[in-house]
């Protein structure tokens, strides 16, 4: 039967063996530390990649979402201005949505939704209920976060208006702009 016997260090005459033990202990610690640090670097790198792919997905989402959003029930004209049309935004409804936006803060998963009138040009005034007839930008949603590059789409912006006491549909050219939150900077 095999037995294990420890070397008797008390009888060692030279210090070389003790030095070797110390060397080995330091070496093992250094190796462990190296692997731990290397592992941490890998984890940090992977984590940054995950954050980056999350941002890429957010950006893709907002690109695809911009067309979808313009046709979603909260924005689309439906049949309110004659027949049903694609990429037509009901400005009256968008203003009412703006008033009730608290419920919709996280609904579409984007950080900013803006409708900017392009033609006829009308300055840079943001729409409120008071200046609604003479404004250019409806800021439906505006979160106070860092934003990714915006995705946009040209749309018709229609509303009910009155001329000579006659109600008519007023449609203008606008850009629908959507931005997602940049999660890399968090």
């Amino acid at each position: 039967m095999m037995q294990i016997r420890f070397a008797d260090y008390g009888k060692m005459k030279n210090k070389k063996s003790q030095l070797k033990i110390q060397q080995m202990a330091f070496m093992l610690m250094a190796v462990t530390l190296f692997f731990v640090l290397a592992g941490m670097f890998v984890l940090v790198y992977r984590f940054s990649q995950v954050k980056q792919s999350a941002s890429v997905l957010e950006e893709q989402n907002s690109k695809l979402l911009v067309t979808k959003l313009a046709n979603s029930p909260e924005f689309s004209c439906g049949n309110a201005f004659g027949s049903s049309r694609i990429s037509c935004i009901d400005a009256d409804k968008a203003m009412m949505l703006k008033r009730n936006i608290d419920k919709y803060t996280n609904f579409w998963g984007v950080a900013s939704i803006e409708i900017r009138k392009v033609y006829p040009a009308g300055g840079n005034s943001t729409c409120t209920l008071l200046n609604y007839q003479n404004c250019s930008i409806i800021k439906v949603l505006s979160k106070n976060v860092n934003l990714l590059p915006a995705s946009s789409n040209f749309v018709s912006l229609c509303k009910k208006d009155v001329y000579n006491e006659e109600v008519y549909d007023k449609c203008e050219l606008a850009v629908f702009i959507v931005s997602s939150e940049d999660k890399r900077t968090k």
């Binding site: 039967m1 095999m2 037995q3 294990i4 016997r5 420890f6 070397a7 260090y9 063996s17 070797k20 033990i21 080995m24 202990a25 093992l28 190796v31 462990t32 692997f35 592992g39 890998v42 984890l43 992977r46 995950v50 792919s53 999350a54 997905l57 893709q60 989402n61 695809l64 979402l65 067309t67 979808k68 046709n71 979603s72 029930p73 909260e74 689309s76 439906g78 049949n79 309110a80 049903s84 694609i86 009901d90 009256d92 409804k93 203003m95 009412m96 949505l97 008033r99 009730n100 419920k103 996280n106 609904f107 579409w108 998963g109 009910k160 208006d161 009155v162 006491e165 109600v167």
Partner: protein
Amino acid sequence: MNRKFSKQGALEISFPWLFAIVAGIFILFLSIYGVTRFIKTEQTTIDAKTGKEIGVLLNPLETSFESGAVTYFILPVSTRIYNKCDSIGDFGKQGIQISQMSFNKWTETNVNVNFQNKYIFSKDYAEGKKFYVFSKPFQFPFKVADLMYMTSSLDRYCFADAPGEISEELANLNQENILVENCSEEDIDVCFGGINCDINVNYDMGVVEKEGDSIYFYGDALMYAAIFSDEYVYECQLNRLMKRVSSLSLIYNDKASFISRTGCYSNLDLSFLSGAAESFSNSADISSIGFIADDVGLKNDANSVCRLW
């Protein structure tokens, strides 16, 4: 080397060697544990990423108007897509949870990818590599959302005796796992008036019977939803849809007052519809709310100048 056999045959190991062996084993186990944890984290990351990608891919399906739109996606390995519906909150949440086959086992993850603006109707989980999704707008009486029906290519549905309109609509989808003729015995039978089928649809009464349960629908979009999803998923998604109906009703109500400044009067009061949708508890309520919605819809259609939607 400080290792030798003594005269008695005992193995003598010096302390540095023993220390090196013990420390080596410790480091080795630590590394194996670390790598195992890392692989699990990576699997969870892949599952979450796949879930998000599926959600993003479904966006183009949500711009349809009248007819149904269909798409499919193929995943590289066998996958289970869990439909996690949560009706709590202003609009509830649509969760997608992914579990993929890895080393002959399903990966375990609790990571849900959530979307508030999607409504996916499917079984509790759909399993396979190829998945079909078709969508249809849900009008109640205004457009509320595009409903998405997700099925695995492994589940084939047979609509052999469906009424003409439905049969035509499904045939036009060209979805490989939805058949309107030439069905086989393994297919899931969907009968309209038949008996002893896997799914029985009473179209006039608005009831779908499956696995001994009765679930109620109103309109074709909800009928497909009831056919393709489990009862729990259907009830939860319907609850979420009613929350959106309620919210949209209030927006239209506000719009009605807002456009009245131009002399445009819709003469519609949507607060009743909003209240009814808000108090929705289960699918048995859907037909009574549906009648209110139809009434409001007719009044809106009759107004040619000041329609709200």
